[in-house]
Point group: C2
Chain length 385, copies 2
């Protein structure tokens, strides 16, 4: 089969043997595979990522000197079935896949391990137990968004966002945009998006952001609403005032309980999605975010990063770190796309064939031009436009 191999940070089209399915595995003909921001990152920094993975015993992660076929956001049609595969995965069935596979008894991340080649290829292996038949005749160019939408759904779930919350999305790359799509689908009343790039801010508006901000000229936190407490005297006043006010109500002890449950006595802050992932972002969020904010950290910052715990303590912040998603969230994302409950079409800005993957990686370096580029192995397109 033809595939795109990455070695020493160079991407090249190579000929590899076709994969063979083990028990419970499927061989898929790749219909679409998305290029993920973490693929761009892994091309250059995989050794650093691998060191973290070694500490966690994550099988064998990609290394600069070990050729790897990347691509973990893929949808394909069943070409070959291993032993014990269930009927629903008949030949020709289209499936979206939670990208893990067993290789020689170990679990590997498909498309991020040299032993588990990914979706920048004509064929790819999938575990039936982590495969989901694409419902409702959903087109592959939409179904392929299941994986990034699952990442964003997990982030939104980790943020415990409700409709009445104000959500701040810092960074409008594909993950930030996908988060905005879910917030919009959930009916969140105020979605504030922040990005340095005018092009990305325009995409954020298309995805559903109510307010977009250039962080070099304006703070996202003050632009949205002045009802958030970013400074302490309000919090102290609230404590004093809420006690006085509530005590005037007959049966105030029960009212207290109800008030605390409703977040009056324990003011609940807004939710901040950190989707940038560069050194200094965490300190920046910690020092600028409103009190009691739940900060969902989705952006991956490599190496050590410094921040002031005392500021996080004084603001009673939560930093909730997010890696991926559960199989259920993956399935929920697929079905929400198929049922039209979430619209992620604005994310896709181009499509290339295998011969265009290297050019697509380069093009994704410019946020003005592209957000998410898809790979279609059947296409002959070599430039993403």
């Amino acid at each position: 089969m033809r595939a795109v191999s990455c070695a020493d940070a160079k991407l090249s089209v190579v000929e590899l043997p076709d994969p063979t399915p083990a028990q419970g595995q499927l061989v898929l003909g790749v219909l679409r595979c998305g290029i993920c921001g973490s693929d761009l990152h892994a091309r250059e920094h995989c050794d650093e990522l691998a060191e973290v993975m070694v500490e966690l015993d994550y099988g064998q992660f990609m290394r600069r000197d070990r050729p790897t076929v990347m691509g973990h956001e893929f949808v394909g049609e069943v070409r070959e079935r291993g032993r014990g595969v269930r009927k629903e995965f008949r030949e020709g069935a289209q499936v979206a896949v939670f990208p893990l596979q067993r290789v020689a008894g170990e679990v590997h991340p498909t498309g991020l391990s040299p032993l588990a080649p990914g979706g920048y290829a004509e064929l790819v292996l999938a575990e039936q137990s982590l495969s989901f038949v694409v419902p409702n005749g959903l087109a592959p160019e939409v179904a392929v968004l299941t994986e990034p939408m699952a990442v964003a759904l997990h982030a939104v779930n980790r943020g415990e966002v409700s409709k009445k919350d104000v959500a701040f999305v810092l960074g409008c790359g594909p993950v930030g945009l996908a988060v905005i799509c879910w917030l919009k689908a959930r009916g969140v009343r105020t979605i504030v998006a922040s990005d340095l790039s005018p092009g990305r801010r325009a995409l954020a508006t298309t995805c559903g952001a109510h307010v977009v901000v250039d962080p070099t000229t304006e703070s996202p936190y003050t632009s949205a609403s002045s009802k958030f407490m970013t400074r302490a005297p309000d919090l102290l006043d609230l404590a004093v005032d809420s006690m006085d006010r509530l005590r005037r109500v007959p049966g105030w002890r029960h009212v207290f309980r109800a008030a605390e449950a409703a977040g009056v006595a324990t003011p609940s802050g807004p939710v901040v999605f950190e989707c940038v992932g560069v050194p200094g972002m965490i300190e920046s969020v910690v020092s600028q975010a409103p009190l009691a904010a739940r900060v969902v950290v989705v952006g991956v910052c490599m190496g050590g990063d410094s921040f002031r715990p005392s500021m996080a303590i004084n603001k009673e912040l939560d930093l909730r770190f997010v890696l991926c998603y559960t199989p259920l969230e993956f399935r929920d994302a697929l079905h929400a796309l198929a049922d039209g409950k979430v619209d992620a079409s604005a994310l896709v800005t181009g499509t290339v064939g295998l011969d265009g993957v290297a050019a697509a990686y380069d093009a994704l370096g410019d946020p003005e031009r592209h957000a998410k580029i898809l790979v279609d192995p059947a296409s002959a397109v070599t430039t993403p436009g």
Copy 2:
């Protein structure tokens, strides 16, 4: 009145004018005041703390060169009533106080602001709206623990600990010990405590820890139970296996929902209470804690601190930072003490008069000898023993 003033990190007994109550305020005769770990810290590092407070507009925080009467953990009896004070606060009534007060229209932290003298004194001001009558004839030497127990209750609430969780308490100073008392009172099945000091470990056992660990010789995480995933392959296997297992059950879609709700599909980690607060502790927790742990950061680390966000992301950790407590939690702590629902008596290791406060600060530097020392302004004791 006599009071202990702190200036240039020196504590000395001084004579100050008696306080006068404004509308809605009480003057209390101090019965007991606890010496808090943050008082020891503030004596030396108040300028650094004050810089953070300035950024947050926290009124006027203590400075090295501004004499301050510390003490924010106090219980007293009503001596004088301002206008508009309710009947329940009759003269002689004993009250525990949420330590905030209005001074010239601004809210100040009592005992941590030069304008709001605290409880290391014969008399102290209190807002009636943040005062709670001590119930059930609870002795002042127990009621005085309301404030530290409220801090710990808030930390336990922020950790969303349930009985079946395993809780790790890192650092068995007064706050760590108070957290252990609440975990015990809540019936948490496995409480693992870690401290360098044998004396503190013995106190942790008295407070209710099931396992105590010297972190220089043993990891608290492996000592307690091997059921936690600290490394990734288990998590990946779980995802694969849970899908296979659950799909075999009729009506698996509903089972999926139930399983996710029950934490099968989304493995919920244990709760870690970081009660040490020295540089490097956050990275230490991030690199050693089990996957998906909720880390409640109670220990105050000043200055910048570095950690690896990529490790926190790969483990999907929560860092939940904790400052103090709500008025409701303060009240709950008081009533739990009065109803015998929580036993915090092991925390107190000594009592001194005002003339013994300086010696008590020194004595608290040795974790083998002391945990919490109380100040009783009526006592003539000058050494905590």
